[in-house]
């Protein structure tokens, strides 16, 4: 059937994706494209399947129907060995950081480098401290994940996701649980990474401030209809989307704009 994406220029193409746990359908008929160097947001209410969509994109879950393409190659139809080639281009940060708890931060970041590159130990150490500096954790090389705070775990998780200078960076709720300043720094970090490394970034989040600050494309998953509510630039969606649920979400539930009664 659909063995090639309609637009081979797109970095990620999702065609007719249906996600289900056994017989329970989470979302159906998802169709969207992520262009190169996009910062693409997956948004929606709690429990609507944002993280599930992310797990489908990186191959941890298999679609019930439909396909995921990277470039013009079909990721869903690829065998396990081919998939490893795709996965090497990904960097993934999980919701809780998911650092390997029996290793220090430095070892966490060094492991992908040691196993996938031929770098000398010194070069690896330098890379590790550089990645940790990028997320503001310089000096914490020898701490174990349990010894640092949740927010720091998250940032270390991002540093690990960036270890191999990935082509596509997937971040699962990077801002949740961070204080406003760290959250802002993180937004800056994501923008800079995109600009300097040319990575495509896919982010699961519902932090509106981050969404408007960094995203240039997004998908809204609608719990009520169990399919995508809208795809597009979030600022435009807020102002011009035809779907009231999307406008409501992006305005924190305020129906009219500007707010009729300013809070005093």
């Amino acid at each position: 059937m659909n063995n090639s994406p309609e637009n081979p220029q797109a970095k990620i193409t999702v065609r007719d994706l249906t996600m289900a746990y056994d017989s329970f359908v989470v979302m159906r008929d998802l169709n969207f494209e992520v262009a190169e160097k996009d910062i693409f947001i997956i948004m929606g209410g709690s429990g609507c399947g944002k993280s599930t969509l992310l797990r489908h994109l990186i191959g941890l879950l298999e679609p019930a129907q439909g396909n995921v393409f990277y470039g013009n190659e079909n990721f869903t139809a690829a065998g396990p060995l081919e998939r490893v080639k795709f996965i090497r281009r990904f960097g993934v940060m999980y919701q809780s950081g998911a650092l390997w708890s029996s290793m220090t931060l430095a070892e966490n970041i060094a492991m992908p480098l040691e196993e996938n590159t031929e770098l000398a130990p010194k070069a690896i150490r330098d890379l590790v401290s550089y990645k940790l500096s990028l997320v503001g954790l310089s000096g914490y090389e020898d701490y174990y994940p349990a010894q640092i705070s949740g927010g720091m775990n998250k940032r270390a998780g991002i540093a690990r996701a960036m270890a191999l200078d990935p082509d596509i960076l997937f971040l699962d709720e990077p801002g949740a649980g961070l204080d406003p300043l760290s959250s802002r720094r993180l937004d800056d970090l994501i923008l800079r990474l995109r600009d300097s490394l040319g990575s495509t970034v896919v982010i699961v989040t519902h932090e509106l401030s981050s969404i408007f600050a960094i995203a240039n494309n997004s998908i809204f998953l609608d719990t009520a209809t169990r399919t995508q509510g809208a795809v597009g630039n979030p600022t435009e969606l807020r102002d011009h989307s035809e779907n009231p649920a999307v406008r409501l979400f992006l305005r924190r539930g305020e129906k009219s704009e500007p707010p009729s009664i300013p809070m005093s």
Partner: protein, 375 residues
């Protein structure tokens, strides 16, 4: 503040013309006793509330009203029931509670307790676990194949740390248990053998029992409680914390990376621990022998004369299999644990129970085979 006299909570359903009215009075407080409900509760929402006599209230009152409104709400009807007559604070709480309609689909249907259904479910679960054990065994063999051909990737450091954990660090407990087992065997044996004046045969008894059965059995059971449980808990919490997902997305095979070093370490260390346990058990027997008048040299000669190489290697031979069983059931339960901390506990329990059961069953199998082969 003087104690205010509180009146007991009262709800009365009345009909005012065609409309249902709910009269609420008294103090609705958690300590105020059960509400007295007068009149037949209708199968519709009240059109109006009469709260002139209402005293203090806490959450019990909104909970009472909400439970009635929910029980009469028609599925799919999103219309908000009227809340006229409620005091503003209570009205605000009710509006908040009714703001999001009840998610009817989210309600879990209560589990059926029919015996036949239970039996069916259990059978399906048993079959599923048989399949998962078979799959896991197959994967282990494939992973061993990859290891032998040098294609499996795991960190050598992890391997040596595990070897230390399930080898050297297990020595104290293995020493204690096998010493005591040797001691007990010797004492019990001596009581009977002394009747025949055959105390020297305590050496044979302890030696044969330790080398054939007790050394390997006790070590395997200690290790499944100690190391098998640790494997299950470690891998289970790694799973709950998405660390295993993280391995996958870096292109590491979690099986090679986590299961293989554990399997190899235990298969390597359990035979060594078994040898050690055998030696400790015989030493304990020798001490008892010395206490009842058998000189250690004599005891030693008797032991060496009885136990040939074949018998000495039986326990060690079995321990290779037991090691694999312990490591595999620990890792299997850990890798298949759910995503919560409770499921890690369950996985640990299942790992220990499964490995001890498997060890005993395997051991009976070996006993039968050795009998047939006459060794």
């Amino acid at each position: 503040m003087p104690a205010k006299e509180s009146s007991s909570p009262l709800a009365r359903w009345t009909r005012d013309g065609g409309q249902m009215v709910l009269e609420l009075s008294g103090d609705w407080r958690r300590g105020g006793g059960t509400a007295d409900i007068q009149g037949e509760a209708p199968d519709e929402a009240p059109a109006r509330y009469d709260t002139d006599e209402l005293g203090d209230f806490d959450s019990t009152l909104p909970a009472f009203i909400l439970s009635h409104l929910r029980s009469v709400a028609k599925p799919g009807d999103d219309a908000k029931p009227p809340l006229d007559g409620l005091p503003p604070d209570l009205r605000g709480l009710m509006e908040l509670a009714l703001a999001v309609p009840e998610e009817v689909e989210a309600r879990q249907t209560p589990a059926e307790f029919s015996e036949i259904k239970k039996l069916g479910k259990t059978s399906i679960n048993v079959w599923a676990s048989v399949l998962s054990v078979a799959e896991f065994t197959g994967q282990s063999v494939l992973a061993l194949g990859r290891f032998v051909t040098g294609r499996a990737r795991f960190r050598a450091r992890d391997f040596w740390v595990i070897v230390q954990e399930c080898g050297a660090q297990a020595l104290p407990i293995v020493s204690l248990i096998s010493f005591l087992v040797g001691l007990i065997l010797a004492f019990v044996g001596n009581v009977q053998l002394a009747n025949f004046g055959a105390s020297l045969y305590v050496a044979d008894l302890v030696g044969i029992a330790m080398f054939r059965e007790m050394g390997v059995m006790m070590t395997a059971i200690i290790m499944s409680g100690r190391t098998g449980a640790a494997f299950a808990a470690h891998l289970g919490s790694m799973k709950a914390n998405q660390e295993i997902d993280a391995l996958k997305t870096f292109g590491f095979d979690p099986f090679d990376f986590l299961v293989l070093p554990r399997l190899l370490a235990l298969v390597l260390m359990l035979p060594l621990l078994t040898l050690y346990a055998n030696a400790v058990g015989i030493f304990a027997g020798m001490l008892v022998g010395a206490a009842v008048g058998i000189p250690p040299v004599l005891y030693w000669n008797e032991t060496v004369a009885t136990i040939g190489l074949t018998m000495a290697s039986l326990g060690v031979f079995k321990s290779v299999f037991f090691g694999a069983v312990i490591a595999m059931s620990g890792c299997l339960q850990g890798m298949h644990a759910g995503n919560s901390s409770a499921s890690v506990g369950e996985a640990t329990t299942r790992a220990v129970v499964a490995s001890i059961t498997a060890i005993i069953i395997l051991d009976s199998g070996f006993a039968a085979i050795f009998t047939v082969l006459d060794i």
